[in-house]
């Protein structure tokens, strides 16, 4: 284990010259159904460098999981149509053959899932599941090597007595330990890209803190690119370098975490910020929900997909919100912050109207 991070970091230097490890461009994922095609992801572009963390935020049905599963090539070729470009470490994976895709999956990229109890096979021992993940990408390794590696990984993710717990079944682990085992399995082949889909949603806060700490430590050690999918803006704020806000299968805002959470320019992002209370917020702050429900992907709204729930569309002249999909354009602060909104000066609306309601204590600071 000691020598691996060294080779990893030297590899990272070379790939930094080549650009981001993961580059997604104009990704579109469609599922044909009897009622017509469902476009779950549309026109999505983003990139993640090694050693960096991208947070993807959105509600159920926003396409945040679907897009990440497309990166991993986990969609069934028969039921999903994928177009656009996904480059993992320079390899184009859209349209890549199954055997070459399989060599990448679990090896240079890995994914960990929300509900570790359901995501681990109930009938196989934790150790056997880790060994299997190792052996499939190390054909020359022996069973004993794999077992040693499994114990080493369990130890690395902080499972006490790993040489004994390796022979436990998943149901004998606590929730936090199962998630640790899941992470150990994801990292057993030192992937350069780790996708964590709601990794802490089902966990208690103190356990969540442990798991987030662990993910951060491991990322530092392995210098991998990390994608964290979550609906919790607090997790995003503490973990992510960049944030991608998704709504109805599209990116609606994208930029550095500080930009997006301090100076958001898209009413949906405002809605997310205003509908979640904060443990340290002023008690004068109002909890302002987003009206309505997430849209149907079968019949998405015309124009801006958020317009039926948007409480600021009255500030846009004419029928623009209803008829025209806004382009993903640079925000006030420059091209590193992209937003999809027709409002002429969204930052001003946010600071003068929204912020005083949801965080009266912050108004002075941001001026």
């Amino acid at each position: 284990m000691t020598s691996i991070p060294m080779t990893q970091s030297s590899a990272a230097e070379t790939s930094e010259v080549e650009g981001p490890f993961l580059q997604v461009e104009d990704l579109k994922v469609t599922f044909p159904t009897e009622d017509g095609p469902i476009t779950a992801v549309s026109g999505l572009s983003y990139s993640v460098e090694k050693g960096k963390t991208l947070g993807i935020v959105g509600e159920s049905g926003s396409g945040k999981s679907v897009s990440s599963m497309a990166v991993m090539g986990l969609h069934d070729a028969k039921s999903a149509r994928i177009s656009g470009s996904i480059r993992v470490g320079g390899t184009e994976v859209v349209g890549l053959g199954e055997s070459r895709m399989r060599a990448l999956r679990g090896n240079s990229m890995a994914m960990i899932f929300q509900d570790a109890l359901a995501a681990l096979h109930p009938f196989y021992k934790i150790g056997a599941q880790l060994e299997e993940a190792y052996l499939v990408h190390h054909s020359s390794a022996s069973k004993r090597d794999a077992r040693r590696k499994a114990i080493e990984m369990l130890d690395r993710v902080g499972i006490p007595q790993p040489d004994r717990r390796v022979d436990d079944f998943p149901h004998q682990f606590s929730g936090g330990m199962r998630q640790r085992a899941m992470i150990a399995m994801g990292l057993i082949n030192d992937p350069s890209l780790l996708i964590a889909d709601e990794p802490t949603t089902a966990l208690d806060v103190t356990v969540q803190a442990q798991i987030l700490d662990l993910l951060q430590d491991l990322q530092r050690e392995f210098n991998s690119a990390v994608i964290i999918i979550t609906h919790d803006l607090g997790v995003i704020a503490e973990m992510a370098d960049d944030v991608l806000v998704m709504y109805a299968g599209r990116c609606v805002e994208y930029g550095s975490t500080k930009e997006i959470l301090v100076a958001p320019e898209m009413p949906y992002t405002w809605g997310l910020l205003s509908s979640v209370p904060d443990v340290t917020a002023s008690t004068d702050a109002r909890l302002i929900p987003i009206p309505g429900n997430p849209p149907s992907l079968l019949r998405p709204p015309t124009g801006c997909p958020f317009h039926p729930r948007c409480v600021h569309s009255d500030k846009v002249p004419g029928d623009l919100c209803r008829t025209t999909l806004p382009e993903l354009l640079p925000a006030t602060s420059g091209p590193a912050h992209l937003k999809r909104c027709h409002l002429a000066d969204p930052l001003k609306v946010y600071r003068t109207e929204v912020l005083p309601e949801i965080a009266p204590d912050l108004v002075e600071e941001t001026r």
Partner: protein, 443 residues
């Protein structure tokens, strides 16, 4: 639901938005709640000011409100059976072990803690889904803990429950009208022909289209189902609602809708809430008073400001520091936090003395020997810790020795008389134990 031209006439006979005085605002509220109901509605004139008006700031505490429910030394032990031909009881899961608190009339108290701390069991005890092993729960001069199931029946009208999972808590074969109206028929409160109007009124109160009474639960989204669950709980005008994780199964944008609705209902019907949740931020918003539980016991209880800004128990401090904070985005990186090692111990065989000591960085010998009492240390603040103090200012020697008649290591001092009056009462005393002077003081 289509754009409803009758919105104004429908809203007249009901009390939706009773706190909005003007007629214009009244219509606005109805429109807004319409909008929360379904996404098919085309909302033309929904502006931010109107929606923001509907949003609520955190609930406030009424310190003079009398208690509607007084829980005293409540215990629930579940037997653990041995395997074998003859199954003997070999131990007990001490799910709830001697907790005391009060729920103020029309107010709300929050129960927080991690899974397995006993907060959900407490909710189920109060609604008498379980019969407690010991202790009392005084409600309207009756002890809910002692009543038989048939004696409980009339009181079930007054104590209702809202469940976590809107997908499994509604019978899929019953229409919404049947679900919401069933309690009316069971308790024979209104004549049969008055059931439907009452059901429609309730649906309107929770922001659903009253015309939808004959639809089935699967035709509604998660947030709407939770509204149906709330309407059902409200049917009998309860005085106390036990809400067990009422929003944790919902999408974030929907959570706020439901929390606002619960605040509206509280203001309008003066119903008291026992609000059980693991989300500390939501509990902080909804409850002016909070009890923190760990392994079957309340470790700290107090008003919002005290618990969130001046917690004295190491577990509360650790719990709060673990919550990820959106504001951290401005600074970058992780927040400083107290790391708790390991997992919660088994409630079958909890640690001796203080149950938190196995994971506590301040634990000393006394913590294993003597259980710390839930001591009132402020006007509305109690904490169960031998080393209670603000973060970074925990005392070096135990603060409880005089009261318990023990020395600093927890061994009994010969001849000392423990002064453990006021240690277990459910509410707050006028006087309390001052940690600095180690004397009883008062306001």
């Amino acid at each position: 639901m289509t754009q409803d031209p009758n919105a104004e006439t429908q809203v007249q006979p009901t009390e939706v938005g009773a706190n909005a005085a003007e007629a214009g605002e009244r219509q606005l509220t109805a429109e807004a709640s319409d909008a929360y109901g379904t996404h098919e509605v085309g909302i033309d004139n929904l502006d931010f000011a109107a929606v923001a008006e509907h949003g609520h700031a955190a609930s406030e505490l009424d310190p003079d409100a009398p208690a509607v429910l007084t829980v005293d030394n409540l215990k629930m032990y579940f037997p653990v059976k041995s395997s074998g031909v003859v199954r003997r009881t070999i131990g007990h899961v001490q799910a709830v072990d001697g907790i005391s608190f009060e729920v103020p009339k029309g107010g709300s108290i929050g129960l927080v803690g991690e899974s397995g701390c006993g907060k959900s069991t407490t909710g189920r005890l109060i609604t008498r889904l379980y019969k407690p092993t010991g202790g009392s729960m005084m409600f309207a001069d009756q002890d809910l803990a002692k009543l038989s199931n048939s004696e409980m029946k009339p009181l079930r009208r007054d104590v209702q429950m809202i469940f976590q999972d809107p997908y499994t808590s509604l019978n899929p074969r019953h229409t919404v009208g049947t679900i919401v109206g069933a309690p009316l028929e069971v308790h024979k409160i209104v004549p049969k022909n008055k059931v439907l109007p009452r059901v429609q009124e309730l649906l309107e109160v929770v922001g659903l289209n009253p015309e939808h009474y004959n639809r089935y639960p699967n035709e509604f989204s998660g947030g709407q189902r939770q509204r149906i669950g709330i309407a059902r709980a409200l049917t009998l005008n309860p005085k106390l609602l036990v809400a067990d994780e009422p929003v944790s199964a919902l999408d974030v944008s929907i959570q706020a809708q439901v929390i606002n609705l619960l605040q509206d209902i509280q203001a309008e019907f003066e119903v008291a809430f026992l609000f059980i949740a693991h989300d500390l931020a939501i509990v902080r918003h909804f409850c002016p008073e909070i009890a923190v539980m760990y392994l079957g016991k309340i470790v700290e209880i107090g008003d919002r400001d005290t618990i969130y800004n001046h917690p004295h128990h190491p577990y509360t401090q650790a719990l709060l520091s673990a919550v990820p904070d959106v504001k951290q985005a401005a600074v970058g990186g992780r927040r400083e936090r107290i790391r708790l090692e390991g997992d919660v111990p088994s409630p079958i065989n909890p640690p001796s003395g203080c149950r938190f000591r196995t994971r506590c960085q301040f634990a000393q010998e006394i913590c294993a020997k003597v259980e710390p009492p839930l001591l009132q240390i402020g006007k509305r603040h109690k904490a169960a810790c031998h080393f209670a103090g603000e973060l970074g200012a925990h005392p070096a020697t135990p603060v409880t020795t005089q009261l318990l008649g023990v020395d600093d290591q927890g061994s009994p001092v010969p001849g000392a008389t423990p002064t453990n009056t006021q240690l277990t009462i459910p509410g707050y005393e006028k006087t309390w134990y001052d940690l600095k002077t180690k004397q009883t003081t008062g306001a």
